[in-house]
Amino acid sequence: MRAGWLALGVAAVVFIAAGLSRISFNVDILKLLPTHLPQVEGLSLFLKKFAQPRELVVTLEGDSAENVEACADEIAKILAAEPQLVSRAVARPPWEKSPADLAELLAYLLLNQPPPQIAELTARLTPENAPATVQATLEKLNDSVSPQEIAMRSYDPYDLAAPLLSSGLMSGGQQSEFSSADGKFRVLYIESAQAFRSYKDTIAWLREVRAKIGDIPVRHGCRLGFTGEPAFVADISASTEWDMKSSGFVTLLVIALIFWLCYRRARPLFDLQVMLVLIFTLTLATAGLFLEQLTVIGVGCAAIMIGLSVDYGYFVFQRAQQHAGTVRELQRLCLQNIVWTSSTTATAFFALNLSSLPGLAQLGNLVGIGVVIGAIVMLTVFAPLTMRFHRRGEMREPSPVEKFVVTPGFFRIGAWFTVAVIVLLLGTLAIKGLPGVDFSARSLRPRVSEAYTALDRLSERLTDERDLLSLVVRGQDETEVRERLTRAEAALAAAKESGDVRGFRTALPIWPDVANQKANLATLAALAPEIPRLKQTMQTAGFNDEAFALTESVLKQWAAWAGRPPPIWPDNESSRWIFRRAAHRGDGQLLAMGMVQPVPGREDALAAAVEGEGVYLVSWSRLGLQLKHVIPREFIQVILGLSAAVLIILGIAFRSARAVGLFAVTTLLVLACLAGAMSLFGMQWNFFDLAAVLLLLGTGTDYSILLLLALRRNGGDAPAAQRELALVIVLCCSSAAAGFGTISWANNLGLASLGQTCALGLVIDALISLFLLPRAWAWLHRPKVLPA
């Protein structure tokens, strides 16, 4: 027997170690949302492929452009000297360091041009035309009043860039992704030397980067901000870990306090706490082994799970107090109640899988697993422990709380108090109406996040993309993406004509044109042998050698590509930098990006015109609108389905239409009061509150079920049923409300809102179930007075 327990213990330790070692967090809030929605799909593609997982974005702001620039340069220099920490620290565009890099990009862009334009270009370079071409450039250098034209033509005597003039590629801009126009806001891009294996790696790396930066910003009078993927991971993971630990710990503490107040017993309290930690650990290990990465919502399960599992512990302990038989008899006595309540609770939580919100589904799975494990642990491990005290004669006099909760006064005051609460909440509902609705993406964001703050500031000062739509185009190869980009650009141009779009920019001008590349490459590569002649012609006209550097590099680049089959992509450092947020290759697909500035209110019409297969026009605000349409409808379906399932289960359990009807009325009254309470406290419905309704159906209904079962056991004696269960329900409600309540300060706003709504709902449910339901049962089952 002892060997059996030992083997079981070792297996549990191995299971827990294996499971916990596999736990990882995913901070991508899109993981919480239905992946079948086009907005979620498009935004996921955008964030996954164009957000750089190893790139920290450091924002610097100060009162003087010179100081901010000096600060950025110093930080970049300090970090660049730490190759084990940082692979790249970029404070300026790479082509500022090596302008010659841009020859590759120019060669590539020309290679993509239509063959007739390339024919014109090559015609300008023939021995007959080259002198006139150079002479025309000299005249333009003398006549032009455009600094850009002078700058470009000085280093392009054969006017190679002419085909690009109409494409907008040659236009300059003062603002860049590195600096605001006034220079007082700058951005540094810092790439980690190593890929991050876990969020702890990310947090440690970020801490080290901060240490290296030290007091540089203070010395330059600058303010620093950190954003980008590593900053988000560190920010959200750290706060999530803290939320989970603190809410779990506080819940345990509150449970201990309640237990002590009620029973004033140290040993059972200790055992109960050990059981809760065991349940939590086993559940987390199970999640680590069988579920994917935990989302921020999933980890909110800790407190909820503890708050729910302890219910079974209280029930077992309370029954053990009055039990004189064996452990097996106690287990049998508790089995029916625990099976019915845990099955409805677990069903409710597992039913969250019917929702298309993966975050909620994960929360449901975690808590569902936790509830099942909790029921098993309390019945198999805790029940024998409680009987041990009984056998040792350690039972004692009831505590003042135990005595108080069985007095008629408690039930009378409780009933009046409950009626007053119901009147207040239903009155509020009648006067103020249903609570407001907020289906924006706000509820998915953390309450406090340095990374979000820095990103918002970056949007304000550098690239205000908050009202922009991101165009994401996906395809299997370059040609497919180009076709889709071309169609999207045509639709956008038409939308601009019709007034639905203020402006747009897509990756089309820099996207490879495979057909043109095939047609042009041989012609352009054949120009390389002409380099000496072209150089001589240019020198004769009055240009320096320096003026030929760009032309020579471009001609040599074409020759270098001659043996390579199209599609050809530029791949030096400057080109990679330019393309990194415009094009993505890999994972068997290609993606292109664009930005669209819509006319407010015309987004839907625009999307209808532009979106098609593999073409997404996405933004957080459009995502919110789409969710607003889809999620409530879906939740209503899930709630109706779950309600039907619960009613069927209870129909089988009670075999009484009146009992099931009473249960249904109680639940409806609880939901109406909850709506009133939310109106009273100015709370708004969001996605997570819809889930809260679902959770209340699973957890809060336990109280009604327990009461209805107790009423049957006691032959309809309402006071007896109340006395039997008052303490259990007070304990369960306090613990579950504490569990949900502790996540109301979670950093994730949606999770916090879920906690508040559930805690409120549970308290209302407990009040109505304990104080009014038995009276309603007694009234319904009152003896009929026969006429004399």
Binding site: A65, E69, P93, W95, E96, P99, L102, L105, L106, L138, L141, N142, D143, S144, V145, S146, P147, Q148, E149, I150, A151, M152, S154, Y155, P157, A161, L164, G168, L169, M170, S171, G172, G173, Q174, Q175, E177, S179, S180, A181, D182, G183, R505, P509, I510, G542, F543, N544, E546, A547, I578, R581, A582
Partner: protein, 222 residues
């Protein structure tokens, strides 16, 4: 992202410049004198010393200015390029191509005014000495008789990125501008030498007008 090619040509390191105390008296006097100029006409010779060329390019032209904001600048004789300011709009006219580009005259933090971009001096150069100090960092001042040589650098980050200095020569007694040079960081320079300067002449309104009939007028891309 896509707008890098023309800018790359201008990227060169700045020379470190020592801070110094200057005698601003001639500058203050010159700025004060500018209030007297309600109109100006002058001939000029523009010399472009481009780093990519073995020898400078020279071109003559003529300019007219009338307070507060009328301006015409003709480059070449006959004019190959005309820059004309009408109210808040500046036109860059190419008579040979029958084409004109239109842009806003006012500068913003992220966009210098076309006047600055074209390498032409704004008139007036500064409203007063305080305005001068707010706009420019002084690099050098030297005098040779009535001729004063002033070198400044605009304080805006954009201008600093591309310019190494603005150089002005003026007569401290008459207040006439003698030469204006824009030196860029790539070692190129664009210098205007003024001659036949007439102060407060009676300028016909037609000088500051232009008949665009038959012209293609487009908005400048930047």
């Amino acid at each position: 992202m896509l707008r890098v090619l023309p800018l790359a040509a201008l990227l060169f390191t700045a020379a470190a410049l020592p801070a110094a105390e200057f005698d601003f008296a001639p500058v203050k006097k010159w700025i004060a004198k500018q209030d007297d100029f309600r109109a100006v006409s002058a001939d000029f010779t523009q010399t472009r010393s481009l780093r990519a060329l073995k020898s400078p390019l020279a071109q003559t032209g003529r300019l007219w200015f009338k307070a507060p904001n009328h301006f015409r600048w003709e480059l070449g004789r006959p004019a190959k390029t005309i820059v004309l300011r009408k109210g808040d709009t500046i036109y860059m006219i190419q008579p040979g191509k029958k084409r004109a580009e239109r842009s806003a005259a006012s500068a913003t933090p992220d966009k210098p005014s076309p006047m600055q971009a074209f390498g032409m001096m704004s008139m007036p150069f500064a409203r007063d000495f305080a305005d001068f100090q707010r706009q420019f960092e002084t690099l050098a001042i030297s005098t040779d008789g009535p001729r004063c040589h002033l070198e400044v650098l605009p304080r805006t980050p954009t201008a600093k990125k591309y310019l190494s200095a603005l150089k002005l020569d003026f007569n401290t007694q008459t207040g006439h501008l003698l030469a204006f040079e824009m030196a860029t960081r790539d070692g190129s320079a664009l210098r205007n030498e003024f001659s036949n300067v007439e102060v407060n002449p009676k300028l016909p309104a037609a000088i500051f007008d232009f008949d665009f009939t038959g012209y293609e007028v487009v908005d400048a891309k930047n």
